[in-house]
Symmetry: C2
Subunit: 121 residues, 2 copies
DNA sequence: TTGATCGGTAAGCCGTGGTTTACTGTTAGT
DNA sequence: ACTAACAGTAAACCACGGCTTACCGATCAA
């Protein structure tokens, strides 16, 4: 149910960049910020958003803070997409077998476009 | 490649609602807007964004336009997450094997592996 | 044709949020 | 003890984008 935060967190390009920097393993903030075109405080704030979304976690290491990717956030997001995916496929299946007069099967380009479809409301 | 647009499009709660309304099959704009707390033009704009992200497609049907979910956008998004997921798992695997090496700091040249926790999961 | 329905577009308002600068706190090293 | 390095926080700025109202074209029904 936290996928909203995850998807919202990953929507920002810079924040996604920050996130992707941790792809290869834990890094301190300064290390993440290096090479990016935003300042370190900005990175800190991005990391906070990512943390609240369950996408990363921090561990104190002296004066540094090691950030690493957390599985939970990604899992939530994948679960959401998968559920959605299944629903969509199911609806396509129903539409295909049931309402033949209905629109394209998405695989077949330019369907006959029968227009006798009455409005439901 | 287009996953950026997809994730950005789905980040907005209202737009996600619009998108989810199409989960069960194609709908005309007015039908999508019905019950939502935003006006129909707003829905139209959301649909345009979703369309550019490859998440939905439209088909003319008389004076109406039937919007339906498009596979491509979701696929791109899933592919991105899957790749990411694999990379993360790989990095965890490496980190576990090599007893956690300092891929983090170049400033402290391999400090005594003081307190380093590893979290596998 | 006239009138009504459907829906895309333009312009403007305005809140959200990403960024920077400045500051503070904490820890390591000498 | 003092200093330097690291990083989180606060405040302010401002661009972006989501929403509304108003308008327009297209299509269907009578």
């Amino acid at each position: 149910m936290a996928y909203q935060q995850a998807i919202q967190a990953l929507a920002d390009p810079t924040r996604r960049l920050v996130f992707e920097r941790l792809r290869g393993g834990p890094l301190p903030v300064g290390r993440v910020a290096r090479g990016l075109r935003v300042t370190r405080p900005a990175v800190s704030q991005h990391l906070r958003v990512l943390e609240r979304a369950g996408l990363v976690s921090a561990e104190k290491d002296g004066t540094r803070r090691l950030y690493r990717i957390e599985h939970r956030g990604l899992e939530d997001l994948r679960r959401y997409l998968d559920r959605f995916w299944d629903d969509v496929l199911e609806s396509f299946r129903l539409e295909a077998e049931h309402g033949v007069e209905s629109k394209s099967s998405s695989r077949t380009p330019t369907p006959p476009a029968s227009r006798r479809k009455r409005r439901m409301r």
